[in-house]
Amino acid sequence: MRYVISLSLLLVVLWLAISGVYKPVLFMLGGFSVILVVWLSVRMDVVGVEHNPVLFSWRLLAYWWWLFCQLVKSNLHVSRLVFRTRDVKPRLLSVPVPHEAAVAKVTYGNSVTLTPGTVTLKLTDDTLEAHALDEASARELEAGDMARKITWLERREDNA
């Protein structure tokens, strides 16, 4: 029930933010679509599954900031490689995935893909196979900074 209420509130806020036109008819349509989506989600049994405490933790903002800095760094690195294609030395690598929760694993896989220079090829329960554009990108992933950051992000769950 808690999740149904939080999902409804989230959808209402989202609708208000996106709509911007506040007339009675539109309010009714908005309310109707919120109810429809909530009803469908309940029927599909997905309410609460995706609601993870991790999603609402302040640590997420800290992680996003860190990821953003990594993004800028790796973007500049790959941009340099665009003009020096001689230095492109692709290789495959696999790194362990130390996380418990599925959300954390997916976050790891997505973050690896998001940073240019590394792309996730396969994510299983305990390993992640990736394609790296050059030695530096590969070593950065193998150093495991990102995995540690996500472990720190995930730890919020235990004491939440």
């Binding site: 989202l14 933010a17 996106i18 911007g20 953003f68 993004l71 800028v72 973007n75 790959v78 941009s79 490689l81 665009v82 003009f83 294609t85 492109v88 030395k89 692709p90 290789r91 495959l92 690598l93 696999s94 896989g109 997505n110 973050s111 893909t113 998001l114 940073t115 240019p116 220079g117 590394t118 792309v119 996730t120 090829l121 396969k122 394609h131 554009l133």
Partner: protein, 120 residues
């Protein structure tokens, strides 16, 4: 003050555009499918982020900015999924990645001149 914000937003928009072009050049210059994914990664991330930040400075504190933030969030959540889906599809279709060489510490198996397989 408005001038400063305008200048800043133009700087962001122009550098975003520049990264978009760099991504496109990389798309043409990189040697194979997997390496080209990395080039499209530039367009997906830094180019989009810079352009959206520039637009946010233009729109100021309004409902429009909320929408731009939402676009940014959805973009950053969906593009890695799309890239991964492409890469995974290529792997399942036996597209062999071009590899520099196999004398890395991770793959100690001996190989002749680093060719992973004779398929091309």
């Amino acid at each position: 003050m408005a001038l400063v914000i305008d200048l800043l937003s133009w700087a962001l928009l122009l550098s975003g555009g520049a990264f978009g072009i760099i991504g496109a050049i990389g798309m043409l210059r990189f040697p194979d499918f997997y390496t080209r994914l990395h080039a499209s990664g530039i367009t997906d991330t830094l180019c989009a982020v810079l352009i959206l930040f520039g637009l946010m400075l233009q729109s100021g504190l309004s409902l429009l900015t909320v929408k731009l933030v939402l676009i940014l969030l959805f973009l950053l959540f969906t593009t890695p999924t799309a890239t991964h889906a492409l890469a995974r599809a290529a792997v399942l279709d036996n597209v062999d990645p071009l590899l520099a060489d196999t004398r890395t510490t991770k793959n100690p198996r001996p190989s002749q001149k680093g060719e992973p397989s004779s398929k091309s």
